[in-house]
Subunit: 414 residues, 2 copies
């Protein structure tokens, strides 16, 4: 058997044990790992420093270096995140439905782990710890393939996780780190459906395409967020201004940042110049349609490819629309099923928008930035699914499980 | 655009309308179709008769001819099935969870249709009507590719469905029947992820393999059922006998029929001869391990490939096992994640079995034959998923939907 298959099979064997692991053991592992991360903070920072230096020498861009680097507070946050996940309810064994059918059978739907989950992601070492913790708490084994720039950081973190597992007599193969960046090996992994139950790719278009093209295993995609805000004529304009500006500026490189604002034409003459002024003052480049550019000379003309674009930067597209229908059509054409917002004080408009916009998360009178597992009360998040199958929107612990039927009878035949 | 892509795009356009179709309209279509099927019963029987005659001439086997043929009562059952589905709750818009998070956002998880569902199945014309009805009631457009032997029957049934849709001003492209059996066309359909959200293959190993190999669209497999019954030493032997026999004989060709009985050795000397006698009396061929053959000379020796085999016929494998661990190991090795049963009067044994057996449905003291959407209270069933992702076990209307987040705020920023 090829060595990568051996690893996958070992993960499968671990998953069988993990499915029956009591919550107490799982939480003990998470808390133990939190402590190990704190105790080894200097070593982690050193390993990460070598990763960053090597990446810089190789000419890696600033945005990527920033994601790769683990500050002292980021290391503390990893430990805190583990303690938070330990406090969350264990989804495994939860009974989601229970009823008796006419034949007298007592039917229960019970949550169980998926089995083995493979995550493919970019050079963000904190994802290594997060993904392990969420998969482990939900009773799954994980196979982690992070960006190769983070190899030293990831290797140390995975070693600490394996030590934490051993310390509680939990199966050490609950975590498998793939350090090879050999594309053929990754392709082979993506076909091992007998061992791996789900693949979650998180990253840019190239990564998603690669996984999609080669996976025989079911995939839940965490793809980009092209998030829109529609400012209806009935919006509270002062608060709308605040939401539009901060939805872009509070974290411009995240997937739930706003990328495009659609302004109802009835309020465009009043709202648009104020919006553009505010955005410019906040350092945001505004790319407007001709109407916007006419009303607000600080805006620059948007190109055709600026609609539906994820800028991931201090850039925002703004368009004036004649009515809510045009807004909905724009969003259903250019959106990415991630996060869409209507700002409106009229219930009928709100309802029309939430019903007709196709997206995993639709918000009324709140920032796009609230589409996030923590903000929406899931307690944690492994990512935001823009696929409709299995999970749609932010995925927490429950979304890493499936449900099976457990039925008790009284010797019924049929 | 290729003609098959045009069909898929039309289905996608219909799906957008279907997502907002009120329950009243959907039920009216289903009831109208029920009436049309009854009014056109003679024409349906004639079209089906031509299908059966052509299939017989082409040398099709008896089992397949039987599935292809629509008796008068089968036609009546299609109409009754539609009326039953009309009575079921509409899953679309159902709020599955509702809570307020610390920021004050009101979070709801709301069911919405998947969009476009493609079904690939064998020559069973009743599936055409069932699949359309379930997809339609759950707000989805369907693309149906049935076995080519049923083309005349399927064409007429799809025409009646399109007429029923038109009569209520519902989008006629809610149903698309693919009559072509050109493999290249089907392969092309399986890559149209921009239009099709889910593919459900239902059928034999060859069909499943074909879909799996070529699909870029998410797939939920309804694969075979290799269902086991473990008769524990604490079982009520008389009732166990009844369950084992009827789980095989009441419908031997269905996926939830028992294929293998595992007998605890502590009761084997008493139970096995009685079981084999009963099965032989009911016309069942028993393939036993050496122990079974020694105890019951009416059994024939099982070959190595009889373990894990779906006989779909009056054949049953029987093995004596030394303990519950061996039974669980046998099932986790040879089972197909479909239906597994323990017959035992001891709670600890029941629990051990239900927790450690990996299957979409585990039953205690009841026949395997109860794993069925109707029997388990789903009201209807499009099939039984043996995949863990999205749905696991019998799939009813809810399993044809996904859930999205609809969030109401009070102008919060973040």
């Amino acid at each position: 058997m090829h060595s990568i298959e051996v690893l996958a099979k070992q993960a499968r064997d671990a998953a069988v044990e993990l499915a029956a692991l009591p919550r107490k053991t799982k939480d003990a592992v998470l808390l133990d790992l939190a402590k190990r991360i704190e105790t080894n903070a200097v070593a982690i920072a050193e390993a990460n420093g070598r990763d960053v230096a090597a990446a810089r020498d190789a000419g890696t861009g600033d945005a990527k270096l920033k994601r790769l680097a683990l500050s002292d507070s980021a290391i503390r946050q990893m430990a805190d995140g583990l303690r938070q996940i330990a406090e969350l309810e264990d989804p495994v064994g939860a009974v989601t439905r229970q009823y008796v059918v006419p034949s007298g059978l007592q039917v229960r739907k019970v949550r169980c782990p998926l089995g083995v989950i493979m995550m493919i992601y970019e050079a963000r070492p904190n994802v290594t710890v997060d993904a392990f913790a969420l998969c482990f708490k939900s009773g799954n084994a994980c196979i982690l393939k992070g960006g190769r720039e983070a190899t030293r950081s990831n290797t140390l973190l995975a070693e600490l996780a394996a030590e934490a597992l051993k310390s509680q007599d939990a199966p050490p193969n609950a975590i498998t780190l793939i350090c090879s960046s050999d594309r053929e090996e990754i392709k082979r992994l993506l076909t091992l459906e007998q061992y791996i139950d789900l693949v979650i790719p998180r990253g840019g278009a190239g990564l998603i395409r690669f996984v999609h093209e080669h996976a025989r295993i079911p995939t839940v995609r965490h793809f980009h967020g092209v998030c829109h805000i529609f400012v209806d004529e009935t919006a509270d304009l002062e608060r709308a201004l605040e939401i539009c500006a901060t939805a872009k500026t509070s974290a411009p490189a995240t997937c739930n940042a706003a990328e495009c604002v659609l302004v109802h034409e009835a309020i465009a003459a009043e709202f648009t110049p104020a919006l553009v002024r505010r955005l410019r003052a906040d350092g945001v480049e505004v790319r407007g349609d001709p109407e916007v550019c006419r009303m607000a000379p600080q805006a620059v003309p948007a190109g055709a490819d600026d609609w539906g674009r994820e800028f991931l930067d201090l850039v925002l597209a703004v368009r004036v629309v004649s009515d809510i229908d045009t807004a909905i059509e724009h969003i259903n054409t250019y959106g990415s099923s991630h996060t869409e917002v209507i700002l409106s004080n009229e219930a009928a408009r709100q309802r029309e928008f939430t019903e007709r916009v196709q997206s995993s998360c639709v918000l009324v009178n709140a920032s796009t930035r609230f589409n996030d597992g923590f903000q929406l009360g899931l307690g944690a998040e492994i990512g935001i699914s823009t696929s409709k199958i299995h999970a749609y929107g932010p995925m927490g612990l429950e979304e890493l499980t499936t449900q099976r039927f457990v039925v008790h009878g009284d010797w019924q035949t049929r």
